[in-house]
């Protein structure tokens, strides 16, 4: 079954965030709550799409991830870039921290 997490951009600064186990939003994908399979994914996305979160985040959606070396890696390169920052500016984004 495919593993999924919910990602979005934070409203005030636009940065990439992930839905966490306690219902908050983290800049670190490893703190994401993981959904296994389609139904669990849909439920997770529904939770992230409630109107109350409209003042916290923008555009939540599901991404597929794999567990590797104790961390989570998105399966699509586009999403890998979102967890790190521009590949051409390693001094910027989360990868720089």
């Amino acid at each position: 079954m495919s593993l999924q997490v919910v990602t979005a951009n934070r409203l005030d600064d636009g940065l990439v965030v992930f839905l966490t186990a306690d219902g908050g939003w983290s800049e670190n994908i490893d703190q994401s709550r993981i959904a296994d399979g389609k139904e669990a994914g849909d439920a997770l996305l529904a939770e992230a799409s409630v109107p109350e979160l409209d003042t916290v985040i923008v555009g939540p959606y599901l991404i597929e991830v794999e567990q590797q070396d104790g961390g989570l890696i998105p399966t699509k390169y586009r999403e890998v870039l979102r967890t790190k920052g521009p590949s051409v500016r390693q001094d910027l984004g989360y990868q720089a921290e």
Partner: protein, 551 residues
């Protein structure tokens, strides 16, 4: 250069305050993202891959020194110390915080700049020749007309919700450096048989998923009638352009579907109704705008400067820079100096805050405080005394701004691609960097001569790949980046859309593929032929063969 009048100033300030309130309401939850999105887009604010992006208009690519200095300040104060100059002669900031954008816009307004109509289905920033007012081959400075277009199109109530975005480009020179044939409307200045200067009107060009070279709807429109004629075209488009399908909504599709004769008939019919109305601009008003762009106080100089010639003879690096980056000026003793934003292995179009401030300072020292942004993502100091070129070059060199590669294979147009853009399907910057490094040897670049490589990271073609002599389109093939090569494109007055060479290449293969094309060209070119000339002579087959062999 044009200075805001009280009306312009008030308009921009009111808009900035309006947006500040909209941001406040969005952050406090009074309006939803769905309600806010069209409002932020109308103010140039996108949400990209990593953060918000603010696109600031540089009207017709012309900047005063104080404006460029402020762009540098904004890069430092509200962003991460750099900006990206785009193929639309604009600048984009990649990391602004939403809550701070109203302050950034206010700082822009202080130097008569804004982000209005840099997004949305409206008339966007009008682009033109970066050498306007300086080029030796120019008929007339196109910027007074660009400024009039800016005023006509800004907040035009009828054209705020067009079927799709709308881009106008103007050239005042027969050598088209503004790619006017691949814009929604292209205006080419020329003289008619009576000796009057006016415009050929080209409609329905464009790139994107359905590229077209524009078609001429009128050979000549006089200056007084230009604005009513533009209004007539926009009205026809607004009425008949398709709103049922986003991908068929640009005017190029309308022109293609109804044909240029029918388009012509509709426009002329509409124009007949309005041509004697309030949009007819009289000679006195045109003169008023021409005066705003009056040439700076040039000194009377000999065109030959002994010191300049001596420096060239003595310093190979300087003479190489002059060879590629310095262009003939219409005023004797002056030259146009191009500032390359394409250092070998660098990010095309990126400039740091301090580089922007330095170029602003240098423009005051050497170029009457006048700077241009080119659609090929470089900067220009348009009015430099030949006697000052060496000092200018030395200062640019210290800031890594003197790469001698204008028009060469390493002067690559590249969109931000998947490294920044939410729409992209593949990265384009790393590819441009690798090509730049592969061809870094300057003697080899000289040998290859003019070669325009343009890279887009998705089918929307912001990197103009369709009109690259060699175009590269990055796509996603089952989760992997791969790159399609097109050949024979041309953005000049001989505009052509390139043809797809064949199957795409992986990220690992594509630089070798480009090199094999260049090697083939060097092997078969005739004396004096550029890559594009050889391609036109021999066609696709010899190049296809080196790419695919018997495949």
């Amino acid at each position: 250069m044009y200075r805001y009048d009280d009306f312009d100033r008030q308009l921009v300030l009111e808009r900035t305050e309006q947006f500040r309130e909209q941001v406040k309401r969005r952050l406090s939850g009074d309006i939803t993202e769905d309600q806010f999105r069209p409002l932020r887009l109308m103010n140039g604010v996108y949400l990209q891959l990593h953060a918000y992006m603010l696109r600031v208009a540089v009207p017709y690519g012309t900047l005063r020194a104080d404006q460029l200095r402020q762009l540098g300040y904004i890069a430092r104060r509200y962003d991460k110390g750099y900006g990206h100059f785009t193929t639309r002669q604009n600048i984009q900031y990649n990391w602004p915080k939403l809550a701070e954008i109203p302050d950034a816009l206010l700082d822009l307004a202080k130097v008569e700049m804004h982000a209005i109509q840099t997004s949305g289905n409206c008339i966007r920033n009008t682009t033109t020749d970066q050498y306007a007012g300086a080029a030796a081959d120019e008929i007339e400075d196109p910027r007074p007309y660009c400024e009039l277009i800016r005023q006509w199109s800004t907040f035009h109530p009828e054209f705020t919700y067009l079927p799709r975005k709308f881009k106008i480009a103007v050239t005042g020179s027969p050598n088209d450096r503004a790619a006017v044939k691949v814009h929604d409307i292209g205006l080419r200045m020329h003289q008619n048989d009576a000796g009057e200067v006016g415009f050929e009107v080209i409609v329905g060009g464009g790139l994107g998923r359905t590229p077209f070279v524009g078609k001429t709807v009128r050979d000549f429109i006089g200056k007084n009638d230009l604005f009513s004629y533009l209004e007539a075209i926009l009205r026809v488009y607004n009425r008949f352009g398709r709103r049922d399908n986003k991908y068929k909504a640009r005017i190029k599709i309308l022109v293609h579907e109804i044909g240029v004769e029918e388009m012509q008939r509709l426009v002329e019919e509409e124009w007949a109704q309005i041509k004697d109305g309030s949009l007819r601009v009289d000679d006195a008003e045109i003169v008023h705008y021409i005066e705003q762009f009056a040439p700076p106080a040039f000194e009377t100089l000999s065109d030959d400067d002994a010191e300049f010639e001596r420096r060239k003879a003595e310093n190979r690096e300087f003479s190489n820079w002059v060879r590629s980056n310095v262009i003939a000026h219409k005023q004797p003793g002056y030259a146009i100096a191009n500032v390359s934003l394409k250092p070998i292995g660098g990010i095309p179009g990126d400039a740091t805050d301090t580089q922007m401030e330095l170029v602003a300072d240098l423009s005051e020292q050497y170029s009457f405080g006048d700077v241009r942004v080119t659609h090929e993502q470089n900067l220009v100091l348009p009015h430099v005394k030949k006697a000052d070129l060496f000092s200018l070059w030395a200062e640019l060199k210290n800031a890594n701004l003197a790469t001698a590669n204008l028009g060469y294979v390493t002067d690559i147009i590249s969109c931000p691609g998947l490294d920044y853009c939410a729409l992209a399907t593949a990265r384009s910057i790393p590819l441009s960097q690798r090509i730049s490094e592969r061809f870094s040897d300057l003697d080899r670049q000289h040998d290859i001569g003019e070669l325009k490589i343009k890279i887009s990271g998705c089918i929307n073609a912001c990197g103009h790949h369709h009109v690259g002599h060699i175009g590269i389109l990055g796509l996603d093939k089952r989760g992997k980046e791969f790159y399609q090569i097109t050949l024979g494109g041309d953005a000049s007055e001989n505009a052509e859309i390139g043809k797809i060479a064949g199957a795409g290449f992986s990220e690992a293969e594509v630089v070798d593929a480009i090199e094999s094309l260049v090697t083939k060209y060097l092997g078969i070119r005739e004396t004096g032929e550029r890559f594009i000339d050889t391609y036109r002579r021999v066609g696709m087959d010899p190049f296809k063969e080196v790419l695919y062999g018997d495949r």
